[in-house]
Each structure stands twice: as C-alpha cells, then as structure tokens.
Subunit: 727 residues, 2 copies
C-alpha cells in the first residue's frame, strides 16, 4: 500500500513539475489511481506476514465479493494455495462473504516458557502476528482473523468480539479451506465423529476415496461422514519433499474439526462434528474458534519437534503443580484385554447397581482385580522401582457395561466383593506405590457427571491421585457424538474439576488432544488413537509407531501402553490368535519414541520376570525430559529419538521402523563433549522378525562419546533402545 | 369355562344313558368338543375381573394369533371395547403377539393409608387384581399384564420379569389401545412432547382433527406429533352420561404417554415421547411400565374424588416427613409476568456468568427482586398470617436466559447486586416467614444437574426449604423433549436429591404428575398446564378452571397461583391489554376448587391492601384437608367443592363456573348435625362479569347448620367462596 501511494505521489510531483507532460502520464496516473481505488475499495486487498526467519510467508486477501482468503508458502514453495475462510450460520446471513477490512494490526511475540512435564525443558514461543478485522457491512457485524506465523508453521483462528449485532449464533458449518499444492502422500484416518481407532492408511490423497471402505474397520462406536473425510492431525508429504501437518490447537467449547477432501481440486475443508440435531456449534460472543494449525518443514524431524500446538494454547493458571507427576506404572489390564481374565466378577448378563447383591452371586473365577492379585502387581512395581499400579475391573457393573446403552452403568465407588479398596491403599502406600483409579464411563456421560464429585472425593480419600477414564461405546445422551461440542465441554469439565481435587486425568476414547495440557497440565494423557490394545484385537500394522508421532502425538502425549514382551496373545488365551506386530526390542524403543509423561509397562509381571535383562531398560528409562533430538525420521518408515533425562546427564535413545527393517545410523554428537558414557543397547537379535521371531533380542554395552557413530540393525517391525548413562 | 365343561359332561352322561340317541346328539357333542378345544387351545382365552362393588368388569382375552386384549364395562355398559395391548420393540421380535397364557393369579387388596398432605385424611386402597403371565413361545420370553380394578376404575401395566431371553430392550412404541364406545365429548389438549400450556378444547372426538390447527397456539417449546394426538389426563363424557378419564400412574424411568386417536374407529392408542434419535424407551428387565388408568363413573364428582392414581403408586419410604409443609405464599412474580417489572437486573442482551461484572453494569430500575422490595412482601406475608415469600429474578443471568439455547445460563447461587441473600434470610426469619427459592433452569438440564448439589446446599444454608423449578424453552441436550424418558429421569433425580436435603419441590414446565407424590411427598406441586400466568399472556378461557380438576389435577396438585384481584393487567403495565377471565369472587373460590398444598396469593400486596375484606378469605382458607365433598360438578360448566380443614371443624366451599354464569345450589348437609356455623360468603356482586365488571363482589355472613340449603348466583366467569367456621 505504501509503495503504491509513494508511486502516485511521485507521479503527481512529476506531473506538477512538468506541466508539459502529455496525456499519457495523466492517463497513467489515472490508471494508478484506479488501481489504488480498487485496492482501497477492498476488491483485492492483501496483507502479508512472515515467520521470524522469513522462510514461511502467509498472505491474507479479500477476494471479489469480500471473501476472506489466505495462503502460505515455504521457502517460496506453495504450501497452501489461496484458500477461503468463513463460517456458515444456521440462521440469517452467514459469515462467508461481504467483508471489508476495517483494521489490521501486526505484532511480534517472543517468550520462553517451561512446561510442567515434556520432551524439553524450555519452549520458545516466537511468532509474528497479523490480526485482520473484517466487517460485514450489510449486517454491521465484524470478526477478527488472527494469524500467528512461527518458524515451524502457521496458526489462525476466528474471533467474535462482543458487539451489538452479533451475540448468539449457531454454526451450521465452518468453511476453513486448505487448498493443497499437489496430490500429496498422506497418512490418514477415516473422518469419524466417534472414533480414532483405525489403522492409518498411507496413500496419495487421490486414493482416499477408493481406499475408504476398507479403511473403516469395525468399532464399538463409529460414525463416518464422507467418502473422503479425514481426521486431524493429518500428516502429508509433498512430492518435492515438503512435510505438512494440519491440526487444531486449543479446542475449548467448540466442535472438533475433521477435514473433508475435495479430491478433484485437492482442497481440504473443515468439517465440524454435529450434535444430535445436526447443529455444529453454539456460540456466544465474545468467543473464538480453536486455532487451525499448519506445521511445515522440509525436514521430517521438525514436524516431530514442533511446539506450535502448545505455543498456541494459553499458559497455565495453576499455581501449585507439585501434585502433577510423570508416572511409570503397571496394571491389571492386559490380562483382560487378551481374554486371560475378565473385568467382570461373575457371569451374569444383566445387573442393576444397588439391587444386584454381588456377595450372593457366583464369582466366575477369572476376575483379575482381586486383592491378592493386585498385591502381586504392587509387589512387582515396588521391587522394580515403578511408581504406580492401575486396576481395571475393580468396581461393580462390568457384567453388562458394554453394548447395552446402559444409563446407570457404574457408580465409580462400589468395589466388587473381592477388591478391598482400603487394604490395597494401605498396602500400596506401605510399599511407596500409588494406585491409579479407573473410571470407565461406558459413554454414559450424564451418569458420570452425576457421580463425578463423589468419585473424585472417593479417590482422594483412598489415595488415588490419577484416573484413567474411558468412553467406550455410543454416546449417551443418544444422538451426541464423542467429538461434538457437548462432549468437548464434558471432557473439559472433567479435567477442570479434577484439577480442583488435584487429580491427574488420562482420558481414553475422548477427543484427541490439541495442546490443552499447557493450560491444564493435569491432563497427562489421552488415548485417542489405535493403541497397544488393538494388538490383541487383530494387531496393528508394523509401521504404526513410525506414523503416530507424526499424527496422533502432535497435540499431546498418548497413553500407548507399550512394553509387551510376550507378543503372542495365545500364550495367555489360547482362543486369541492375535499377536503384537513388534519385536521385543522395539517395545522397549517405544518408551522413547512414544513420548508420554505416563508410561505403562503393560505386560504381566510373570512375563517380565522371565526377561528381567530386557526389562532393565524399562526400569531405567526416564519419563520426563530436558531435551529431545530427532536423529532420524521418515513418517511410515522409521523414527529415532534421543532424549536427555530431566535433571540428569543421562540420555535415552529409541528407534522404531516398519515391516522392512533397516540399518539405523546413530550419531552421538548430541552428547557432551569430552565426556564418557556407558551405552547399553537393547537391539533386535539375529533373525529377529515381528511375526516369526519377535523375542530374539541382544543386549550389549559399549562406551560412547560425542564422537561415536554406530550403525544398528533393526529387524522388520523392530528397533532398538539405548540407555546412555554418564560415567 | 366351567359352565361349558359341565354342559359337555351332562351331554355325555345323557348320551351314555341313551345309546339309542341319534347322530344329531353325537354331532352336537362333537361340536361342543370342538368349541372346548378352541377354548383350551388359546385361540380365544378369557379372564374376568370385577371391581369390589362389581359395577366395573374388566376382561382379558387373547385373540387369534396370541394378541393380548382387554375390555371394560361399567354397569354393563361398554367403556373400553376389546382393545389390543403390547409393545413394538426397536430390534428383533416385538411383544405384540404370539402369546399364550401360562399363568394367571388373582388377589384382593384392601388398605387405608394416610397421605402426608391431601384433600382427605385417609384414602382407601381397595382393588381386585388379575396378573396374567403371557409367554411368547417363539422367543421364549414372557411378560406379566397386571390389572387392578377399583370401584372407581381400572389400572393396568406391563411387567418384564428378570429372565434369560429378555434383559435389555428398546421400545419403538407402546401399543396400548383404548377402543372407545362412542364419539365422546372430550376435553382435550393437543398431544405434544414439550408443552401442556394449551387451552383445553371441548369437542367431540370426531372434531379433534378439524380443530387441531387452531388449538396449537404458540409456545416457547412445542412439538406436536399427530393431527389427532392428545395429552393425558384425557377427560371424556359419553352421550349416555358416562364420565371416563384416561391417564397414567407412577411414571418412573419410562417415557411419558400421550394418546393418538384413530378417529375413524374411535380407538386411542398410546404414543410415547421419543428421544433425540427416535427411540421411545430403554428398558432393562426386571422393570415395568407405568400404570395406564381409566377412571369411570356416571357421576362427574366421582372423577374428581377418585384416588386411583395415588393408590397405584408405591407407599412412601420417607421416615421423617415433618419437613414437608403445606405453604401459603406471596411472591415477587406477577409484577414481572404482567411486565410491570423485570426479572433482569440490567438491559444487556448477552451476559457471561463469572465474566460479566454486574456491579459495574447500569441497573434498569425495574428489577423487582431487590432487598427493599422483597422486604415489603415479607412484611405483607407476616402481617397477614401467610407462610412464605417466593422471589424470582434474584440471581445473575436473567438478561439472556430465554430463547438463546444457552448452556451455562444460571449458576443458582449468585445473587444480583441488589439482592442480599443473607439479610433477607435474617429478616424473613425474624418475622417467622420462609423464603421460597427459584431455580429457573431454562431447560439447560445438564447445567442444572452440574449445579444442583451446590444449589441445594446454598438453599439450606440460607433458610430455603422449598424450591420452584422451571424448564422454559427447548430442551438441552438438544433433540430431547420435556416428556421423554431422559427428562422423566431428570425430574425424578431432582426430586429424590431434594429429599436428601429435606427440600420440597414445585416443578414448572416439567411432566404432568402421575401420583408420584404418594411415594415422594416432597413433590408438593407442578405446573404442567396453562396456569394463571397465561391470563397476562392473552387470557384463559372463562371455563378453564371448570375443566382443570377433571384433567390436570387427576395426577397431582397444580401450583395454579390464583388470587388475582386486579384483573386488568393494564393497571400494572399499560402496554399489556390482557385481562384475567375471572371475577374477583371466583379467584377466591379457586383456593378451594384448585386443590394444592402450595397456594399462592399471586397479586401484588398493594392491590390486596385495597381489598382486605375479600383478602380475608385467602387468609382464612385452609390448605390441607381432612375431608372433601363434591357438591356439584360438570366438566366445562361448573364445580363446587366443600372441604373440611385438617384438624378443625371448619369447612370451606368454593364454586367456579363458565362464561354463562348460573345459580349454584348449596346443600350444607355435610356439616355436623346439631352444630351451628358462621358462613361468610364471598360472592359475585350484582352485575358482575369476568370481563366487564370483575371486581363487583359482595360479602355476607349467615348462620348455617346441616339443614341449610341455599342458592347462590354465580356471574359469567364467576363463582363464590365460603368459609364455614364452627361457632
């Protein structure tokens, strides 16, 4: 704008000085004036924003008709071609067009903040910001589009300030587009309002439609919405090697965003989750949408180390965070997942809480959550320096909890006759072990909310400071979806209330995280993807864990619950022929490659006791970090991380690869110069293979320094784990 | 069955004795044998049940195909012609046919019980019962149909005992039919999932279809479902003078029943309220449906005095009921209903609880619920011997509570800046007055449940023992309806939780009552019909109160809030030209004719102060009774009650009539013989008329005895009230 004005002034000055200049110049200045008029009038209006290192450039422009658009380039290459923004409203004029720019503000922000737990000790939050005020003249309403451009990507959101003509409105659909620059390779999940537990499909975007049907495998609760619907985080790689990840940050009081692909034009568009009557958001100004995020780099590792999602969330207001503790745990769980034991106490098919007298029923003899057995887990945890024991199936109601759309399904406080809450609290405390509570809600969410204060109080009274919650099955209230605004609001309610009680939450089957743990650091985990349990339900793909950090982990940690040593499930339950698609060594690697402040050693103690040399890595591995490096990374193929333990000089390395196997190259230059370290390498043994020979592993120790470089073989579906202890 | 068997035996004996009898007899006996076979095989199987006085006869029979049916006669006249019973299920085989009778049990029950509050001191519960077990051979499932036949009517319900082949099931529709014997005159409301606030239509059933459109007047939340849909209680009168009332009793954990009329065949069928996805009930055996009730008499007054609905409910398990008290109250309410004052504190159109700082906003100067003004109500109550003061609009949130589908609309504990909770508690207590709490939920029911414990605790901490709750507007969770199982469950939750806190509940816009107050006597009132407030929203029909006791009051009392003396609303708010379609004298009568343990003197103290002679009746009238007599009754025309005050020798009489006016005949023979009483008669004055001259009233005193008979004129839309004090 300034350039043009100067040009016009210059021309006018020249014209004035040379009154003899002919009409051409006059016509030229008129032409320029017309250009200026067009620019000022808003038919084409542009704003540009650069990242601090100027590699990323975002542009905002109003297209004809006052339609807001933006675009993004990386080192001059198109990442997002000009794409429309706006919202369709349920009633009245939508917020899609008819805008003019009535204000723009630019600013810069640069801070360094410390997360309560994380992959690194400190996080730099440095962005350039552009806030564009758009006024819709015809309705006298205005919105603000805010863009924050980081070195690692872009975030933008809609803001609806308090104003006369816009107070209550209902969103019919958000229309944020992401026009891609090519038919990228994508790592995608079918878009679904109720589950993320699909195996990732790796294909070009143009193949999504053909592959969708097979991708939608059965689930306890699922609702697809489009033959080209996709979930976020969506990881992509362009043909010219650009890594692009689309997600959202700070999902609060809004509907969860999926993406719908126009596979003719390669344009993604936001697709929100509807409620029971088809509406997609109830808004009251002042309010805002979550941030829509696009992480970009030509290095795959940059996607993994990006902190953009957290940076877009608000800092925490928690004053005391001493009660929030990374936790390494075992649990009465895998033996039920495999079918060796049951959650249920007896074999009734229908029970009524408070009516059914469990003490008079016949126990089925397979109920794992009994006092004596839990004590064995406590003993194992104490003996091996772990922190806690999770117990599932401790409470009345498991006989008919699943698939009945049962309203009053659990009360969260009444144990089975063979589970002595107080005794186990006493016993665990005497051994320095914490108990982790389990709240399976069965998606009966009103029931959970009715009991939640009592349930949290019960936890504190009995020494439980952390809870794993679950939302298995179709949602009640019926017609609502797991990722609709109603449930986003519930998950938030549960986490905020937990914080009042100083309780940590690990929510399974809830919405995938969007960096909220910056604001609510007691949200220490989610599942929100296909986890280790599916290894017992038919298996995960061998490359599954080479993808998840690029997708699921973008918004927050996953309680992946690795550490299965006995990969053949039939060893526990002869009727279950599933097997874990992983070597034992790769299971160790996951403690490093699947970052989480909550890490489970998921297998049975009796199995670990047979492999204590390998288990040593699990005992040693840190779960909170000062620093993280990505040594190698290619989504779908391999990832190698090196992480520095918090407050120590020790490092831990983990590598995971796909079904092909590979040679991994480890460059130890991240170590302190001049220091010596003892590296214990837990690797795939000779002939190891995730299916035919998973348990072949080899442990060796070598001295390493910052100058060391080694190659390490990884079997198909394998990897390695290394503890690097300062000498 | 016995008669037939005897006949056959007789014939066989005869045949045997006369071996020479020809083929005709042999053929006859074969024919009879075939008849018996048909009877025994279940193609036609009959059970009969009589009321204790034998006037009512109910029959159960299985029709061809194993379809359950029942019928009812009164003194030999058909009340219900043979009508089908059963339920359609969402999946699998329905429970409609294919039954055989596998058991029948008959029994008799006779008790007298005392209600905690009521129209009478004691209630006789005397019925003959038939329980028919029906087995559906093809599915190996069975249900029990239980019939209870009283002298005043029939109740029947479905029971689903615990059994192997029936545990969880979802009701698609209940198919209980009521095949009527004629095109009865009916007093009906349009069937609706969300409101009962329509004016009753009086017409023949054949006219329902034509009159439906005009009957469905606008409401804040409404969902009609059929051009011939009807609500219950449904009051009817046959052409030959039989009064028939259909309703339900003990509606717990089930969907509310409406009726759909097949106006070709005059058959009503149950029509349940669906949830957000169209399902009509989630059931887990053992369970049962509510009772479907048919009250019958050839005397209108018997419908009014019937206690069948209460008798079919379970006795209360409450041990201490001393905290449950009939209450006479005034309230800061009518001045807002008329538009004279506001619920809201300021004129903002959008607020956010906890964010909006009310102390910094500009009060609108019309907020009635302020400390000084409430004290005036307290003073009035104390001076006039009333019990309590209700205050609406005391709490933050009223600025945008209506029509916004707002989720976090109220927190039920934060007062406006000008309402001093503690001071008003102190002041009221010092005057011996109770405060009544108000919880308008705005139908944001999850929000109410999230706050309900805190809200109830707040009540007890501040001296509130009773709450008026409200459910104005469309339901949240969206897609649910006021009368669906989800909300029935919620209302029950609120009442049961209130009992834990020793709180009485008066729920407005909730489901109409079904006698639950027997079991939960803290449910002291509901609105659940078009009440006095509608007099300020255009007016009620002049005959409205001659109908409500036959319809709305069948299942429980109504907080009708009568006592409007200044019937022209424009006197309070010149912009509101509505008027109360009632004379002043009839307003007094309503304290007797509209039974309720909760009675409001709804007008403003400043108005009452101008008519203290008339107000004397409101001061004197009892609100709890030892006995009740119906002196005169014809639905839609007039009702005259005489009631004996609890624990006293005083009686109160009230009479209400329609737009025609009439001469009422009062026979005082219900008084104790040989005693003298002073009767103060508050009657319509000369020329009184509900529209043109409502305030013309006359008060006179006469001595009466049990031998007295008088005639009393009632104006159009008028009536009279009499206090009869023992001398």
């Amino acid at each position: 704008m300034e350039v043009l004005t100067s040009s016009i002034n210059l021309i006018h000055k020249k014209v004035n000085r040379n009154r003899n200049i002919d009409n051409t110049v006059q016509q030229l200045s008129k032409f320029l004036a017309i250009i200026c008029f067009i620019l000022f009038s808003g038919n084409v209006s542009g704003q540009e924003l650069k990242s601090p290192d100027a590699k990323l450039v975002a542009k905002f422009a109003l297209k004809t008709g006052g339609v807001p658009t933006y675009s993004l380039t990386y080192k001059g290459k198109a990442v997002i071609r000009p794409s429309k923004l706006g919202l369709a409203l349920k009633t009245g004029t939508s917020l899609l067009d008819g805008f003019t720019i009535t204000d723009t503000k630019t600013s810069t922000f640069n801070e360094t903040w410390k997360p309560v737990w994380g992959e690194v000790k400190e996080i730099v939050n440095h962005y350039n910001e552009l806030a564009v005020t758009l006024t819709q003249q015809a309705t006298d309403r205005y919105i603000i589009l805010r863009f924050r451009l980081y070195n690692d990507g872009l975030g933008f959101r809609y803001e609806f300030p308090e104003q006369k003509k816009l107070d209550y409105f209902v969103i019919k659909e958000e229309r944020s587009q992401f026009a891609l620059a090519g038919d990228h390779k994508a790592f995608w999940l079918p878009g679904d309002y109720d589950t993320q537990e699909y195996s990732t499909v790796t294909s070009n975007l143009s193949e999504v439609r053909a592959k969708m049907k097979d991708a939608v495998t059965p689930n306890a609760s699922q609702t697809t919405f489009s033959p080209t619907g996709l979930q976020t985080p969506l990881m992509m790689k362009s043909k010219d090697g650009l890594y692009i990840n689309i997600h959202e940050a700070a999902l609060i009081n809004y509907s969860c965003m999926s993406l719908n692909l126009d596979d003719k034009n390669m344009v993604l568009e936001s697709w929100l989750t509807p409620d029971a009557i088809g509406d997609k958001g109830y808004m009251q100004a002042p309010c805002q949408s979550p941030w829509r995020t696009i992480i970009v780099s030509d290095k795959a590792g940059d996607i993994l180390t990006s902190k953009l999602t957290y940076n877009l969330n608000e800092p925490t207001k928690f004053k005391d965070v001493s009660w929030i503790k990374p936790t390494k745990y075992v649990g009465v769980w895998w033996e039920m997942i495999t079918g060796k034991s049951t959650w249920a106490y007896n074999d009734l098919t229908s029970v009524q809480l408070g009516v059914t007298d469990y003490s008079k029923t016949k126990p089925n003899g397979k109920h794992a959550a009994n006092t004596a057995h839990v004590k064995e887990y406590i003993d194992f945890a104490a003996k091996n320096g772990l922190d806690a024991v999770l117990v599932e199936g401790w409470n009345e109601g498991w006989e008919d909890w699943f698939g009945k759309t049962k309203d009053y399904v659990f009360d969260f406080v009444t144990p089975y006759p063979d589970f002595d809450v107080q005794e186990l609290h006493r016993y665990a405390a005497s051994k320095g072990i914490k108990m982790i509570m389990h709240h399976e809600t069965s998606s009966s969410v009103r029931n959970y909310e009715r009991h939640i204060d009592t349930a949290y109080k019960f936890m504190k009274a009995n020494g439980y400071d952390a809870v794993k919650s679950g939302y298995v099955g179709n949602m009640i209230p019926r017609g609502e979806h797991h990722y609709g605004q109603w449930l986003i609001n519930h998950y938030q309610y549960a986490v905020e209330k937990a914080a009042e009680y100083k309780i940590m939450v690990n929510a399974h089957e809830a919405v995938r995280p969007t960096g909220l743990a910056r604001t609510y650091p007691n949200l220490i985990g989610n599942e929100a993807a296909r986890g280790t349990e599916y290894e017992a339900f038919g298996g995960n793909n061998a490359d599954h864990t080479t993808i998840l950090p690029f997708t699921r982990l973008i918004g927050g940690p996953m309680d992946y619950t690795p550490g299965i040593f006995e990969t053949k499930v039939s060893a526990y339950n002869p009727e279950n022929t599933s097997f874990v698609h992983s070597t034992l060594a790769r299971q160790l690697a996951l403690y490093v490659t699947m970052y989480s402040p909550l890490q489970m050693a998921a297998d049975l103690p009796e199995t670990y006791n047979k492999y204590m040399d390998a288990f040593q890595f699990i005992k040693d591995v840190a779960i909170d970090w000062d620093d993280t490096k990505v040594l190698e990374a290619e989504p779908g193929d391999y990832i190698t991380y090196a992480r520095k333990a918090k407050g120590k000089n020790d490092w831990f390395i983990g590598s995971t690869c796909d079904e092909n196997g590979r040679m991994s190259k480890i460059d130890f230059s991240f170590l302190d110069k001049g220091k010596k370290y003892l590296a214990t390498i837990y690797a795939d043994g000779k002939g190891a293979h995730y299916e035919t020979n998973p348990k072949a592993y080899a442990i060796r120790k070598i001295e390493v320094t910052s100058k060391t470089k080694i190659s390490q073989y990884c079997a198909p579906g394998g990897g390695y784990a290394i503890s690097v202890m300062a000498k």
